[in-house]
């Protein structure tokens, strides 16, 4: 036996009695300590403990047995206390038991008469302790289970996806808050309740289908419209370790936003397709007319048509590169290097680049720099050049011959402001509101001949946006337009 021997305290004022007990008990393998009176017994118990059992005489000097029993019991309720007395009466026995004694041994006794109650007592003690340990263990387990359960149910309830669980009897046994929210009729269902009680047929169907799984894991998925939202419902069977279907779990995910994105994406693709197809049709149309020879020999008119076709082809090419730039910005692949930059010098470069175009249309292009590099902006040079050039280019396009396009650079609080103002054909309020929309182009008699991709201003706005800047436009038909870009300074 690897267990240490049980320790027994013998308290008796009679030397012969103490020694007699010690011998009998030691011979049985117990470890025995003795004390000659109640007080000494108490001291020994406190200092030399713990003891598994105590044999206590009732009549002792200094502290009587009953008092000692009470104290020992208080100190260690697990210690088995046996009263050893020559005055065994019912009354004292009852009294001793009340104070915590387990049994009593009347004097005189044979070794067996001593050993049997001691063994029984110790056994009882072991059982008591074990039972208590089991009990504690069980309590702990229960607590753990309860905690795990509540944790699990908290997690399930906090999920943004709806969760429905059915057992193999086709009864709904669990629904989380999100599911109750998505399927209002299921919120009031008592659990468990038949799956057929669910009003949403598609959800019912996917769960039923999952329950019908014959073997192996599977996922039944269906898009379901509920109210104004679209949900992806995924149901899977739950298997027993033996392989039998135990039930099914359905997860309802709101994919409304995804669906909207999908629609927006296909609309964009469709718009791009249209924007590409129109110039292609124009180019092909011109070539058809020329090649058919139907229009007769008119070199000058043919040349004009070829020039138009070439222009459309060029616009098509810039459309494609602008699309690529836009995509690059949107996917974050567009690398900008923000450095302290004199925006006035960038504006001057842009004006230089546009001077020829302006001259060809007899448009005066002027620049005024009130900022003169006093406070640099934090921006990408190429991006800023592209923004200002685009705006000037646009202004020239929509200004009639003999008009004026002016660029002004000035301070505006923590921003540098670049203003591009023209006295051209201007925009109606509706046109102005859509000026930055993809592929939006003002279409009227005056703009019919103006080439453009409809992406220039969209690109400008995106570039300004990624610099945490702002762009505004003020315009009136026949009065002209004013674009103002604000870029944060260093």
């Amino acid at each position: 036996m690897s267990e240490p021997p049980s320790r027994i305290l013998v308290v008796d004022d009679e030397f012969g009695m103490r020694e007699g007990c010690r011998r009998i008990l030691s011979a049985e393998g117990y470890e025995v300590a003795t004390a000659a009176d109640g007080l000494a017994g108490l001291e020994l118990f406190t200092e030399g403990g713990p003891f598994d059992a105590a044999l206590v005489d009732l009549r002792m000097p200094r502290m009587g047995g009953l008092e000692l029993i009470e104290k020992l019991h208080e100190l260690d309720p697990d210690t088995v206390i046996l009263v050893v007395t020559a005055y065994a009466t019912i009354d004292t026995a009852v009294e001793a038991t009340k104070r915590g004694a387990y049994n009593y041994i009347p004097k005189p006794f044979t070794p067996d008469e001593l050993l049997i109650p001691v063994r029984n007592g110790l056994e009882r003690r072991t059982l008591t302790i074990e039972a208590r340990r089991w009990h504690e263990e069980r309590e702990r387990r229960l607590l753990e289970v309860a905690f795990e359960r509540s944790k699990c149910s908290t997690v399930i309830n906090c999920m943004t996806d709806g969760v429905l669980v059915v057992n193999r009897e086709r009864q709904v046994v669990l629904r989380n808050n999100a599911a109750a929210h998505v399927l209002p009729d299921c919120a009031g269902l008592p659990l468990p309740s038949p799956l057929e009680g669910l009003q949403c047929a598609p959800v019912r169907d996917v769960l039923a289908e999952a329950l019908g799984a014959s073997s192996g894991p599977m996922i039944v998925s269906r898009e379901v419209g509920i109210g104004k939202s679209t949900y992806m419902v995924n149901a899977s069977p739950v298997f027993e370790p033996g392989g039998e279907v135990l039930g099914g779990v359905a997860v309802l995910r709101d994919i409304t936003a995804l669906k909207k994105l999908e629609v927006a994406k296909s609309m964009f693709v469709s718009m791009v397709a249209h924007e590409i197809k129109s110039p292609m049709a124009a180019i092909e149309g011109y070539l058809n007319v020329i090649l058919s020879g139907i229009a007769g020999e008119d070199a000058e008119r043919d040349r004009h048509m070829l020039e138009r076709a070439l222009l459309r082809a060029r616009m098509l090419r810039s459309l494609v590169s602008e699309l690529l730039n836009l995509t690059a910005i949107e996917t974050g692949a567009f690398v900008i290097k923000r450095v302290p930059l004199d925006i006035g010098s960038v504006a001057a470069m842009a004006i230089e680049a546009c001077q020829e175009k302006a001259g060809a249309k007899d448009i005066t292009l002027t620049c005024r720099d009130d900022e003169s590099g006093e406070r640099p902006v934090l921006a990408d040079r190429d991006a800023m050049l592209s923004v200002i050039t685009n705006l000037i280019d646009n202004a020239i396009k929509y200004t009639l011959a003999g008009g004026h396009v002016g660029v002004v650079v000035e301070r505006n609080g923590m921003y540098a402001k670049v203003i591009v103002k023209d006295d051209g054909i201007g925009m109606t309020p509706e046109e102005r509101d859509h000026a930055f929309d993809e592929f939006y182009r003002a279409k009227n008699e005056q703009t019919a001949d103006v080439p453009g991709t409809g992406l220039g201003l969209t690109l400008v706005k995106r570039l300004v946006d990624i610099h945490q800047g702002t762009i505004t436009v003020d315009s009136a038909p026949d009065k002209g337009s004013t674009f103002a870009v604000r870029i944060p300074t260093v």
Partner: protein, 140 residues
């Protein structure tokens, strides 16, 4: 003798389409007027009634060609004017505008439908079928 030359009104917000269509039609001897929007076209029609209208489908709005055609057909003055619809995009956003049957054309209030680009010969053949050839000046 301009009164004898059939007048064709071409409506499109694509400048180049107006240029090339005018070229084709004029080469065949028709008189051509152009408009860049249904609105402008209706103004022009009020001044001189055309013998044929050729219109783009998608101008400002997705279906502006359709509503323009409907307007023409429901106007007592122009109900007899044939309308030819020409578009670069016959289907868009899930809509499919391509007519399958002759009945579809009537539903769309048009007398003919083409996808851009139209071959000059095909366009002229369709125009001739609808309004006949122009009487050549200087010929009997």
């Amino acid at each position: 003798m301009t009164g004898d030359v059939p007048l064709i009104l071409v409506v499109d917000d694509d400048h180049d389409f107006l240029v090339m269509t005018r070229r084709v039609l004029e080469s065949a001897g028709y008189a051509v007027a152009c408009a860049t929007s249904p609105c402008e076209a209706l103004d022009t029609m009020a001044q001189a009634k055309p013998d044929l209208v050729i219109t783009d489908l998608m101008m400002r709005a997705l279906d502006s060609g359709f509503s323009f055609a409907r307007k023409i057909k429901s106007d007592a003055r122009f109900a007899d004017v044939p309308v030819l619809l020409i578009t670069a995009v016959a289907s868009r956003l899930g809509y499919d505008f391509t007519p399958d049957k002759v009945d579809d054309l009537a539903e769309m209030h048009v007398d003919g439908f083409f996808e851009k680009p139209v071959l000059p010969n095909e366009l002229l053949a369709q125009v001739e079928a609808l309004i006949g050839l122009p009487v050549q000046e200087g010929k009997p």
